[in-house]
C-alpha cells in the first residue's frame, strides 16, 4: 500500500489537481522549473498550507493526523534555514525531538554521527560554514526519526562533496518502511538517485514515473523550453542541455 497518496491536490493558483503516491522505501524526486509548485507540494504534505483535495497517510486522511502526531511521522527540511539564536549544534539537533517532547541523547548522537557533525556538537551553529550547517539541519530532521522526510532543495548552495553526502543520507533513509520526497533542480542527480520522478509544470503533473520515463528530450523541451540530449545507457544517466 502507498505510504502517502495524494488525490486532486489544489492550492490556489499554485497547484492544480496533483495526483501521485509515495511507496515505502522510495526516494521520490520532485522536479520542475522555478514556480512549478515543488515547495508548495511539500508544504501541503507537511501541513503548512490549507489545500483542497485529499492527502492520505497509510490510507487515512492526513488531516486526521494533525500537530505533533503528524510531525512525528512527517518531517520537513525547508529550503532555507537559519537559526535566530547562536544555538549549539547539539541543541539544534535536539529540536528534532520537539514533536516527541524529549531530548533523547542517544538519538541526537546517532543523528550527528550519521551526518558527520558529531565533532561540532558543542560548537555554535552560526560559526559553521553553509555546507556544515546544511548537514546540521538534516541531522535535526533525522533525530526525529520520521517515516517520511520532505526535503526541499537540500542541495542548493552546497558544493559537490556535500551534495553527494546529503543525497547518500537521504537514499539511506529511504529504506524499508521509510521514504523521502526530494525537491531537486539538478536533473542528472535526480535521475541517478531517485527511484521515481514527478515532473511538475505550472502546478500540474507533467510526467510521473521512473527517471527514464520522465526525462525524455520531449518533456524537457515542453517544460523547460530547452533542447536536451538524454542518455540512460551508461553507468550514470546523462542529461545534457544542447545549444
Amino acid at each position: 500500500m502507498a505510504l502517502i497518496s495524494i488525490e486532486q491536490l489544489q492550492l490556489d493558483s499554485r497547484l492544480a489537481g496533483i495526483t501521485l503516491s509515495l511507496k515505502p522505501g522510495e526516494l521520490l524526486g520532485v522536479i520542475g522549473p522555478n514556480g512549478a509548485g515543488k515547495s508548495s507540494l511539500l508544504e501541503c504534505i507537511a501541513g503548512l498550507q490549507a489545500y483542497g483535495g485529499r492527502i492520505a497517510l497509510d490510507g487515512e486522511d492526513i488531516s486526521r493526523c494533525q500537530g505533533l502526531k503528524r510531525a512525528r511521522r512527517v518531517a520537513l527540511l525547508p529550503q532555507r534555514c537559519q537559526s535566530a539564536w547562536a544555538l549549539k549544534v547539539a541543541d539544534v539537533i535536539a529540536l528534532g525531538r520537539l514533536p516527541w517532547g524529549d531530548e533523547d541523547a542517544g538519538l541526537i548522537a546517532q543523528a550527528a554521527e550519521q551526518t558527520g557533525v558529531a565533532e561540532w556538537l558543542d560548537s555554535r551553529v552560526d560559526h559553521l560554514s553553509g555546507g556544515e550547517q546544511a548537514r546540521v539541519w538534516l541531522a535535526r530532521v533525522l533525530a526525529g526519526q520520521p517515516e517520511i522526510i520532505l526535503a526541499d532543495e537540500p542541495l542548493a548552495s552546497l558544493d559537490l562533496h556535500y551534495q553527494q553526502r546529503v543525497l547518500e543520507l537521504l537514499r539511506q533513509h529511504a529504506q524499508g518502511p521509510r521514504s523521502v520526497i526530494l525537491s531537486i533542480h539538478d536533473l542528472n542527480l535526480a535521475a541517478h538517485w531517485c527511484d521515481r520522478l514527478v515532473l511538475l509544470d505550472s502546478g500540474r503533473v507533467h510526467a510521473l514515473g521512473t527517471p527514464q520515463e520522465v526525462l525524455t528530450p520531449e518533456s524537457i523541451r515542453q517544460v523547460y523550453q530547452v533542447e536536451a540530449q538524454v542518455d540512460f545507457s551508461g553507468e550514470r544517466p546523462l542529461i545534457r542541455v544542447l545549444g
Partner: protein
C-alpha cells in the same frame, strides 16, 4: 543556573529591606509586622520597604520575562516591550484613567486595568500592521504604533486639568516603585502568574521558532495560537507593570541578553532566568536610587534608562558587526 539566580534574588531582597534612611532591625521589624505589633520598625518594614522591595522584584520579573518571550517570538534580539508599542499603550491607558476617570467601577485597579487594555490594543495593532511578514516589519510596525500612542499620550498631557495633575502624571510616567502599597501587588502578582503561565505554556514554540515559523509549524506547533498566547502573556506582564510602576525602560530588552549565555542561547530555557535576573536588576537599581544623596529622588525608570540606553547602543553595534 536557576537556583543561583534565586539565591541572588533573595540576597538582593534582603539588602533592599536593609537600605533606608533609618537604621532598623529588619528581621525583628518583619516579625513584628507579621504579628500585627504596632512598632516603628514594623511600620517601616511592613508599610514602606517590603512593598517597595516586592514591587521592584515583581516589576523586574515581569519585564525580564516579557522581554525574553518577545525576543523569542519575534526572533529578534533587539525586541523590547517598548519597541513593540506595549509599554506606551499601557502608559496611555493608565494616563487616560488619571484624566478621564475611565472604569470608575474598577476603583484602585482602574489604571492597571486600563494599562492592560492599552498594552493589548497597542500590541494587536502592531501585529495587524506588521502582518505575517518577517521580523524587520514588526520593529517598523512597533515604531509606528509607539509613535501613535506617544502622540495620543502627549494629547492627554496637553489637556491635563491642572498643572499639579500634569506634573504628578509626568513623574508617575518616569517610573518608580516608591510610595506604593501591598495592594498594588494584588494587581501585579496575578498578572505575573497568568502572563508568565501563558508564556511558559508556549516554551516549546519559542524553541521551535529558533529555526523559523515554517520549521516550528512543520514540527506540529501551532504558530497562530501560540503567538497570540505569548503576546497576550507579554501584554499582561508589561501592562500590569507599567500600570503599577510607570515606564521602567530597557529592562525587558537587556535582561535576556545578560542571561542568554547562561542558558546556551536557548529561547525556551531563558524564561525563568530572565524573570529572576529582571527582578534582581530592578531591585538593585531601586537600592541605588535610595542610596543616592537626599533631595529630589532620581526616578527608578530614569536610572534604568540612563544605564540601559548606552547598553542598547552597544547591542546595536554588536548586531551591526554580525552583518558586516
Amino acid at each position: 543556573m536557576t537556583p543561583v539566580l534565586t539565591l541572588l534574588m533573595l540576597l538582593t531582597a534582603l539588602v533592599s529591606l536593609h537600605v533606608g534612611s533609618t537604621d532598623i532591625a529588619v528581621l525583628d521589624g518583619l516579625w513584628q509586622w507579621l504579628n500585627g505589633t504596632d512598632s516603628a520598625a514594623a511600620i517601616v518594614i511592613g508599610e514602606i520597604r517590603l512593598p517597595r522591595t516586592l514591587l521592584a522584584l515583581t516589576v523586574g520579573a515581569a519585564l525580564g520575562l516579557s522581554g525574553a518571550a518577545l525576543q523569542g517570538l519575534l526572533r529578534n534580539p533587539l525586541a523590547d516591550p517598548g519597541l513593540t508599542g506595549a509599554s506606551q499603550g499601557a502608559a496611555l491607558g493608565a494616563a487616560s484613567v488619571f484624566y478621564f476617570g475611565l472604569f470608575p467601577a474598577a476603583g484602585a485597579a482602574a489604571p492597571a486595568l486600563a494599562g492592560l487594555i492599552g498594552a493589548g490594543i497597542a500590541m494587536s495593532l502592531m501585529l495587524l500592521l506588521a502582518g505575517p511578514s518577517r521580523q524587520a516589519m514588526v520593529i517598523m510596525a512597533g515604531l509606528a504604533i509607539s509613535t501613535l500612542t506617544g502622540s495620543l499620550l502627549a494629547a492627554v498631557l496637553n489637556f491635563a486639568p491642572n498643572p499639579f495633575a500634569l506634573s504628578e502624571l509626568v513623574f508617575w510616567l518616569l517610573g518608580s516603585v516608591s510610595e506604593r502599597g501591598l495592594d498594588h501587588l494584588g494587581i501585579l502578582l496575578p498578572a505575573l502568574l497568568i502572563g508568565g503561565g501563558l508564556i511558559w505554556s508556549q516554551r516549546r514554540l519559542l524553541l521551535g521558532l529558533s529555526l523559523g515559523e515554517q520549521v516550528a509549524q512543520s514540527m506540529g506547533l501551532s504558530y497562530t495560537r501560540g503567538s497570540r498566547l505569548i503576546i497576550l502573556g507579554a501584554a499582561l506582564l508589561v501592562g500590569a507593570s507599567v500600570a503599577v510602576a510607570g515606564a521602567i525602560g530597557f529592562v525587558g530588552l537587556l535582561v535576556p541578553h545578560l542571561v542568554r549565555p547562561l542558558v546556551r542561547n536557548r529561547p525556551d530555557r531563558i524564561l525563568i532566568p530572565a524573570a529572576l535576573a529582571g527582578a534582581i536588576l530592578v531591585c538593585l537599581a531601586d537600592i541605588v536610587v535610595r542610596g543616592l544623596p537626599p533631595g529630589r529622588e532620581l526616578k527608578l525608570g530614569v536610572l534604568t534608562s540612563l544605564i540601559g540606553a548606552p547598553l542598547f547602543i552597544w547591542l546595536v553595534w554588536q548586531e551591526r558587526k554580525r552583518w558586516l
